[in-house]
């Protein structure tokens, strides 16, 4: 499975923090019949993710909505407790960005986007990408090279719409 335009984005069971605690989200059902931006990054609280990648979508969230995007989703291989705290700390929650945890890394692995950097303590994390999904099918895909945060930023993906 690769992030190629025209492919159906793989289904996955993700977790998010709900009103009453962690809850499971079936991604395929969640994105069905809607236009969704989904971006992924190596991890909450890591340098470029907190200082560059997430803020680029906080800045552009309104512009995406203006182009008919129903929801912006950030996926990371983190648990829902960490993602909730990070969503509040970065302003992502206030900007209406949904944070979903790929806690076991299954989606990331299925996409072939996983990497490990044991000396940094990052195991089975996701490289950076941003896609637009229309009814679950990849309509745009901006996949960064490992270690980079360029074309998967909010402004870059916005330019594709």
């Amino acid at each position: 499975m690769s992030l190629t335009v025209g492919n159906r984005f793989p289904g996955a069971s993700l977790v998010r923090m709900g009103e009453d605690g962690p809850e499971t989200v079936d991604l395929a059902g969640y994105v069905a019949g809607r236009k969704v931006v989904l971006f992924a990054l190596p991890g909450a609280y890591t340098g470029p993710c907190s200082t560059v990648h997430m803020p680029s979508f906080v800045r552009t969230a309104e512009a995406f909505r203006g182009k008919g995007v129903d929801e912006i989703i950030c996926v990371a291989v983190n648990d829902p407790f960490v993602l909730k705290a990070w969503g509040e700390a970065t302003g992502a929650a206030a900007a209406g960005i949904t944070l979903l945890g790929d806690a076991e890394g299954k989606l990331t692995h299925a996409l072939g986007m996983g990497f490990s950097a044991p000396h940094l303590g990052l195991i089975g994390r996701s490289n950076r990408y941003a896609v637009v999904l229309e009814d679950g099918v990849i309509a745009h895909a901006n996949v960064d090279k490992p270690g980079e945060c360029n074309i998967s930023k909010g402004e870059e993906l916005l330019a594709a719409l």
Partner: protein, 160 residues
């Protein structure tokens, strides 16, 4: 499962140093010292945030007075998460050392890993607190899953 009388495994953990993540050999922290180690399922989780970690912040000075050289908190999180959690919870300011076990190698070596997929936990640590003297466990307080009772700072302090 780790018990009184056992020697701690010679694990390598991570902490955030001035130039980024750095490795810490547990044996270097425990050799010829009296050390408290407590472990919990995850940073930013409600019980860990509201009860377990604060109990060691409250009791840190009493441990100091009873000859404990260092209090170490270990969790299966990455070093970035541990750093921010330490800052936001006040643990770093209280002088508690937070060490990350990101691949769970230490937690599995001591036989205390568990999964709870419903909340996104894989290979996380059960909740416990121990005292180690020269790397050998002299007191072990392992809580039942879902509880934070005998592994608190106050409960372990009674061993000293």
């Amino acid at each position: 499962m780790l018990s009184v009388g056992d020697r701690l495994p010679d694990a390598t953990l991570l902490r955030m140093g001035p130039d980024g993540p750095e490795q810490v050999r547990l044996s270097d922290r425990t050799a010829a010292r009296k050390v408290v180690i407590f472990a919990l399922p995850g940073a930013f989780t409600p019980t860990c945030d509201s009860a377990h970690l604060p109990s060691f912040i409250r009791t840190k000075a009493q441990y100091d007075a009873r000859g404990v050289d260092e209090i170490i908190c270990i969790s299966v999180n990455d070093v970035h998460v541990m750093r921010y959690w330490g800052e936001m919870s006040g643990a770093a300011a209280a002088g508690i050392t937070l060490l990350a076990d990101p691949d769970a190698s230490y937690t599995r070596a001591v036989g205390l890993a568990y999964d709870n997929p419903a909340v996104g936990f894989y290979n996380r640590s059960r909740r416990y607190a121990l005292i180690a003297e020269d790397g050998v466990v002299t007191a072990m307080h392992l809580d039942q899953p879902g509880q934070c009772a005998i592994s608190t700072g106050e409960a372990l302090l009674e061993e000293l």
